[in-house]
Assembly symmetry: C2
Homo-oligomer: 271 residues x 2
């Protein structure tokens, strides 16, 4: 039975949102709704305009027999800035300050709605690049990686500091922790990354950059390629940072353990 | 400027999908689209019918001045079964078998589309219950928790086996690992769970149930309430399991390390 336009628009919107960065043929939708391709084409035109007006993203049209549509989630710099400004305020809350100048982030990194927005912001930056995998280190980087991975339609891989039997064979590297100057070890399951993969590195917090540098080393070991690095928050670091090129959504500028105040500003993402 | 129905339907669908288990007033939509409440009401009727027909979920209507609509994601048992059947096949792949009879799951737990579906399936089971937090243990439970958390609109909290300075003060419990009978320790940041919270426990894999039992202990320490337990996969366990009531999506039945074969069947979720 033919499906009405209103129903098609609702279901197509859902389907597209749930399949970002995926090429979907017009034939697929035409069959799904027992409708003519010309009607589907009109529907997609309406969705394309709405997604553009509302800042949801781009609906790419690929012409030809092997063509179709592809939804690319995108968030405008203004929208991203608004979300990050809100985060700056929340991060500056006094009771977030932990001994040693660390900042408590676990509550924020457990909020599904916030993670969705953070995922959209980070994925937006790499929307035009081919990403085969999103890499992060356990544990607090995982929610960020998962959110980004969803919006890029690429799997995520988790680097671990402790070996686990359930990972199978692993490849490990040693790295120097930037802030403590200690030598540490991290490893990744051997089968989790193919040679030549284009990898995006994300993490929750960067101080000296040692952990991120360790992941760079792992990417080399796997003969894969680093596409970019984005961290949720960075803190101003007095030493020499081992990582130069990266994006951060937030920058923890001044931590005063005496007055228990934190100053948080938008990060390099907006530069 | 008044927004046309087609555009309203597309944008409302997106908004509802991104805000599950959230009460949204008709006034909010009326303002957003500069449209009359009666038109919004009609739109919601169309969305409600489509969501029902397509198996997306329930659009609840709450009448009165403080009312509005609430989107409850739901997946039918048939849809869930189909997804789980596909997973049984993938889990039975020969090269997943690891030494000690463990099964390699990390690739599946890094696929965003699969996690979304798993999240929908688990969240569906608890759609009528009040859930304040989803709890899991680091590391591999995190992707499951995050996916479930999104569809229930409840934050997730991560229990850790290793203390980290970035967690602040923690509460810890000792527990007996069901399979190895060793005594281990797990802890949770003190500020991450409020007294009286209703908690759903999820994890990737359950053998003897010791880890899940540890989380039960933590929930008691926090004077919170356990609502339910669901694991992605369980394995048949020869000893006496310390956990009785739980759901599993998958059950790893026979692991033959000699012939390197695994038999995986749907879990107790479907019973």
């Amino acid at each position: 039975m033919k499906v009405r336009r209103s129903e098609r628009l609702i279901d197509m919107t859902q389907y597209l949102l749930e399949h970002p960065h995926t090429l979907i043929s017009l034939t697929f939708f035409a069959k799904r709704y027992s409708s003519a391709k010309s009607s589907i084409s009109e529907d997609l035109g309406i969705i394309k305009r709405t997604f553009k007006t509302r800042g949801t993203g781009i609906l790419e049209t690929i012409p030809g027999a092997a063509g179709g549509v592809r939804f690319i989630p995108e968030i405008s710099t203004e929208q991203a800035k608004e979300i990050v400004d809100g985060l700056c305020e929340r991060l500056s809350e006094q009771d977030r300050l932990l001994p040693g100048g660390y900042v408590y982030l676990s509550d924020l990194l457990g909020e599904p709605d916030l993670l969705r927005q953070v995922g959209q912001i980070i994925a937006s930056k790499y929307k035009d690049q081919k990403i085969d995998a999103v890499m992060t280190v356990a544990t607090k980087g995982v929610p960020i990686a998962q959110a980004v991975s969803y919006h890029l339609n690429a799997p995520f891989v988790i680097v671990r500091r402790d070996s686990k039997i359930t990972e199978g064979s692993t490849v490990s590297v040693n790295y120097v922790s930037g802030s403590s100057q200690r030598i540490e070890k991290m490893e990744l399951s051997k089968r989790s990354l193919k040679r030549g993969s284009r990898v995006l590195v994300v993490d929750d917090f960067m101080k000296g950059g040692g952990t991120v540098n360790g992941m760079k080393g792992l990417i080399e070991e796997f003969e894969a390629e680093l596409v970019g690095i984005t961290v949720f928050a960075e803190s101003t670091f007095s030493g020499r940072r081992v990582i130069d090129e990266y994006n951060s959504l937030l920058c923890v500028k001044d931590v005063d353990t005496h007055t228990k105040t934190i100053k948080v500003v938008p990060g390099t993402y907006f530069e």
